[in-house]
C-alpha cells in the first residue's frame, strides 16, 4: 500500500526530472571547467528526448487507468495517488536519456583553438536547469507533506 502511495505517478515523474536536472548540471559544470581546453566541444544531455519521454509519461498517467486496477482493489484515493502501473512509467526513462552526448551540430562560434565555448549560453542553461530542479524538489516536498498529513490524520 505504502509503495503504491510513494510510487504514485507524479512522484515517479518528479524523481526523473530531479535525476535528469542533477545529471545535466554535471555536464554543464564540465563545459565550464573545460572553458579554456583546446579542442573541447560543448556537451549536452538529450533534453529533447527527455522532454518527449516526459510528455509521453504524463499522457500515459492521465489516461484512465482504472482498467489496470483489479476490481477488488478499486481505490478510494484520488487518481493522482492511484497505483498507475509504476514499472511502465519507469521504463519510459531508459538510461540512454541520462548520458551526455556531444551534439554534432552546434550553434555558436568555434574559436581558433577548436573550442566552441559560450559562457553566457552555459550559465543561462544552468540557471534554467537549476530552477527546474528546484521546482521538481518543491513539488515532491509538497506531495510528501500531503502524505504526512494523511498519515497523521491532521493538518499542520
Amino acid at each position: 500500500m505504502l509503495s503504491g502511495l510513494l510510487g504514485s505517478t507524479n512522484t515517479t515523474l518528479l524523481k526523473q526530472v530531479a535525476r535528469f536536472t542533477e545529471r545535466r548540471q554535471e555536464v554543464l559544470a564540465g563545459n565550464i571547467a573545460n572553458i579554456d581546453t583546446p579542442g573541447y566541444r560543448l556537451r549536452e544531455m538529450p533534453t529533447a528526448a527527455f522532454q518527449t519521454a516526459l510528455q509521453r509519461a504524463v499522457a500515459q498517467s492521465q489516461a484512465p487507468h482504472q482498467a489496470a486496477l483489479s476490481p477488488g482493489l478499486q481505490s478510494p484515493l484520488s487518481p493522482g495517488l492511484g497505483m498507475a502501473e509504476p514499472p511502465k512509467l519507469e521504463d519510459l526513462f531508459p538510461d540512454t536519456l541520462f548520458k551526455a552526448v556531444t551534439p554534432s551540430e552546434q550553434p555558436g562560434l568555434t574559436f581558433n583553438d577548436a573550442n566552441n565555448r559560450s559562457v553566457e549560453h552555459q550559465f543561462l542553461e544552468m540557471t534554467k536547469n537549476s530552477l527546474r530542479q528546484q521546482f521538481a524538489i518543491q513539488v515532491l516536498q509538497g506531495q510528501y507533506d500531503q502524505l504526512q498529513t494523511a498519515i497523521s490524520e491532521r493538518v499542520g
Binding site: 548540471q25 554535471e26 571547467a33 581546453t37 544552468m126 530542479q133 524538489i137
Partner: protein, 136 residues
C-alpha cells in the same frame, strides 16, 4: 551530484595552476641565469589544459587537467648591453621569452574562468541543498 563539485573543482585547480605559472613567468621576466649560475635565460612556462576522458566521464560531465610545459619554441629577447655579465660575444644579453602583455591577458582569462567555476559550484551547492531539504 557530488561528482559535479569534483568537476568544478578540477576547473578551479587547473585555472589556479595557470595563475601560478603566469606569476612565475612574470617574476622571472628578467632572469638571465639558471639555478647553477650559468648564463641561460629563463624559458617561459605554459599550461596545457586537457579534458579528462575516462570511463566515467564518457557519458557524464568532463573535468579538466592542467600540465605545465616549457616554451622552447619562442626565441629569447636580445638586448644590446655589452656591460652585462651575461652578454654574448656581440654584446647582446638574452632575456627570457616572456611577454608581459601576453601573460597579463592570460592571467585575466584564467581569473575569469576561475570565477565561472566558482559560480557553477554555487549553483550546484544550491541544488544539493534543495535535495537535502527533502530529508526534512
Amino acid at each position: 551530484m557530488f561528482r559535479t563539485l569534483d568537476v568544478s573543482a578540477s576547473g578551479l585547480a587547473a585555472q589556479r595552476v595557470r595563475i601560478d605559472t603566469i606569476a612565475g613567468n612574470i617574476a622571472h621576466s628578467h632572469t638571465t641565469q639558471d639555478e647553477q649560475g650559468n648564463p641561460s635565460p629563463f624559458q617561459r612556462r605554459l599550461v596545457v589544459l586537457e579534458a579528462q576522458t575516462d570511463q566515467v566521464s564518457a557519458a557524464r560531465g568532463v573535468g579538466v587537467t592542467a600540465k605545465v610545459e616549457v616554451d622552447t619554441q619562442t626565441p629569447p629577447r636580445k638586448v644590446l648591453d655589452p656591460g652585462h655579465p651575461h652578454a654574448d660575444a656581440d654584446g647582446y644579453v638574452s632575456y627570457p621569452n616572456v611577454n608581459a602583455i601576453t601573460e597579463f591577458v592570460n592571467a585575466m582569462e584564467a581569473s575569469r574562468a576561475y570565477e565561472a567555476n566558482i559560480s557553477t559550484m554555487q549553483v550546484t551547492r544550491d541544488m544539493i541543498e534543495n535535495t537535502f531539504r527533502l530529508l526534512g
